[in-house]
Amino acid sequence: MIPLERYPKEITLRDDTRAVLRPMISEDADGLWNFLRQLPEIDKSHFHEDVDRREVVERWAKSLDYEAALPILAMQGNRVVGSATLYRNRTGWKQRVGIVRILIASDFRHKGLGTAMIREIRHLGEKVALNYLLAEVIEEQQAAVRALERMGFEKAAVYRNFVNDRQGDLHNLVVLLHPMSGLE
């Protein structure tokens, strides 16, 4: 069972604005929908489903399973300003590898929120005894790549022209790995 007693957790960003981190709950469907709608197209490329369809977001909110995917939301009041999700496999050869996806609202970038979200997911990964965290980022998202590297992620591979955005244009995919403290 993933430990969640640290939530809600209040953090202060670089410009002294505050945000509350907490796991997503089913009542967050509206907030998540509004958050996803304002994201730049490139940030929505990795989703397996069309997040421009409200019913997709509503279904996610209704079918939350923290053991498989734990979304931590950054809230300012009732507004979702960031999300970080830790995906895990319960069985199989990748059960000790957690996949990280982080999204930050455009007007909340460059305030340290992305880094705070990385710290949060890393903490959760430690608590569920993962061996590695894995993050996949489009190479153009350099601020995210730098933030992940500063937090101990290492570039494991760059796949050239490997993924396409929603317009069909190809992009390089950077794969980053973070070895967890229990590994050594």
Binding site: T12, D16, G152
Partner: protein, 104 residues
């Protein structure tokens, strides 16, 4: 400007003190990743001492400082405080660009 062996010695002692202070603060916190980073910082610091000066020692001190910054960031995050922003201390740096800037 080149760092003299006295400069390196001074930097070593200052960093050693900083890391001990960080270790004391970390004692009360449950942040496994930060403990690992502190170990790496101390490892880099001791490698600077055994390196006998020169560019390698300077590089090791730089690594130790980078790991220390990460641990400080973890401690601030755990307490809900704003992230450390080295740009606020730009006047103290004798460098063109302030390192450790968090962009995201």
């Amino acid at each position: 400007m080149e760092a003299t062996s006295i400069d390196l010695r001074k930097a070593y002692r200052q960093l050693e003190r900083l890391l001990h202070e960080i270790a004391a603060a970390l004692e009360k916190e449950d942040i496994p990743a930060a403990r690992k980073d502190l170990e790496k910082a101390l490892e880099a610091l001791y490698s600077a001492e055994s390196g006998g000066g020169g560019p390698d020692a300077l590089r090791s001190l730089d690594h130790a400082l980078s790991y220390a910054h990460r641990v400080i960031g973890d401690l601030l995050h755990e307490k809900g405080l704003p992230p450390h922003s080295p740009a606020d201390f730009a006047g103290w740096y004798d460098a063109g660009e302030v390192p450790f800037r968090e962009d995201w």
